[in-house]
């Protein structure tokens, strides 16, 4: 890993950590994206629309950010999806279902929960990291995707 390929991840990671801290310090909330999005969809489930505005604002920020980086770089940030479309669809379904059943995703468990030294988040993070690595191993090394 060269210094320049290390800097992006290091700075980007620090920004993710900083935003987790700020959302707690200012809004008193865990910066867990799956939980925040599920809250936005609460009216679809026939529940109240409490906290809709801050949740929607957070998501808007997420969506705008890559455009700012693209504008600064003078080219659209690259997003490439190496796996077939059906895997994106099945993957999305499993990520959505799994993060609700498991009460969190990479941000809520992997960053916020682990930083709070939550036992549940350590277990969840260990679990999703392991199954993700096994899945890619099976796809690439055994099935030749």
């Amino acid at each position: 890993m060269t210094l320049s390929s290390f800097l992006g991840p290091a700075i980007g990671g620090a920004l993710i950590g900083l935003s987790a801290v700020l959302l707690m310090a200012l809004n008193g909330r865990i910066a867990g994206v799956s939980g925040i999005v599920a809250g936005i969809m609460a009216p679809l489930r026939g529940e109240g629309r409490a906290d809709l505005s801050w949740r929607a604002a957070f998501v808007a920020g997420l969506i705008i950010a890559p455009l700012i980086v693209s504008a600064v770089r003078g080219e659209l940030v690259s997003v490439s999806t190496p796996h077939p479309l059906w895997m994106m669809a099945l993957g999305g379904l499993l990520v959505g279902y799994g993060t609700r059943l498991g009460s969190g995703c990479t941000s809520g468990h992997g960053v916020c929960g682990v930083a709070r030294l939550s036992k549940r988040s350590f277990a969840a993070t260990g679990m999703f990291m392991s199954t993700a690595i096994v899945t890619v191993f099976v796809l690439h090394r055994l099935l030749g995707v």
């Binding site: 200012l26 505005s53 705008i64 190496p82 479309l85 993957g91 059943l101 941000s107 549940r120 191993f137």
Partner: protein
């Protein structure tokens, strides 16, 4: 005020995801592919995010309450239960299949990759299923008892 701070924090979070490279599924899959041409950068992202959030949370929690709210809203569950483990396992499989977790997928929505929209649609469906089924099961259990 709460929405403005959430917008700012979401923007920061999205910048972190973009600058770190996490927004690109091929990069995530290269990180998960430990038996292949392994890309360690996600490890740097996680480590950097955790160092900042670990110490930052300690500063945030030194105050009695958040700046804009009356109290910190933290998860109350402490037990490692079956839904946590099964949900996280399914999430990991979906993450490996697609190379996307909720944060990067939402951020990437502004970049016009069709596969990402398929993932997002499936993600929303999966979340609604995940939130609906446990509640329906709880209702049934209640009706039976």
């Amino acid at each position: 005020m709460r929405a403005i701070s959430a917008l700012f924090v979401g923007l920061l979070f999205g910048l972190g995801l973009t600058i770190s490279g996490m927004i690109d599924p091929s990069k995530i899959i290269a990180f998960l592919d430990v038996a292949g041409d392994w890309d360690p950068s996600l490890l740097v992202v996680m480590a950097s995010a955790l160092v900042v959030s670990f110490f930052g949370y300690r500063i945030a929690f030194a105050r009695k309450k958040p700046v804009l709210e009356e109290k910190f809203q933290l998860p109350t569950k402490t037990e490692i239960d079956r839904p946590l483990i099964i949900g996280s396992a399914l999430f990991g499989i979906g993450w490996g299949l697609s190379g996307l977790c909720p944060g990067p997928a939402i951020s990437a929505a502004s970049l016009g990759n069709g596969d990402v929209y398929v993932f997002l649609l499936a993600l929303a469906s999966g979340m609604l299923l995940g939130d609906g089924l446990p509640k329906a099961a709880a209702k049934q259990a209640k009706a039976r008892s």
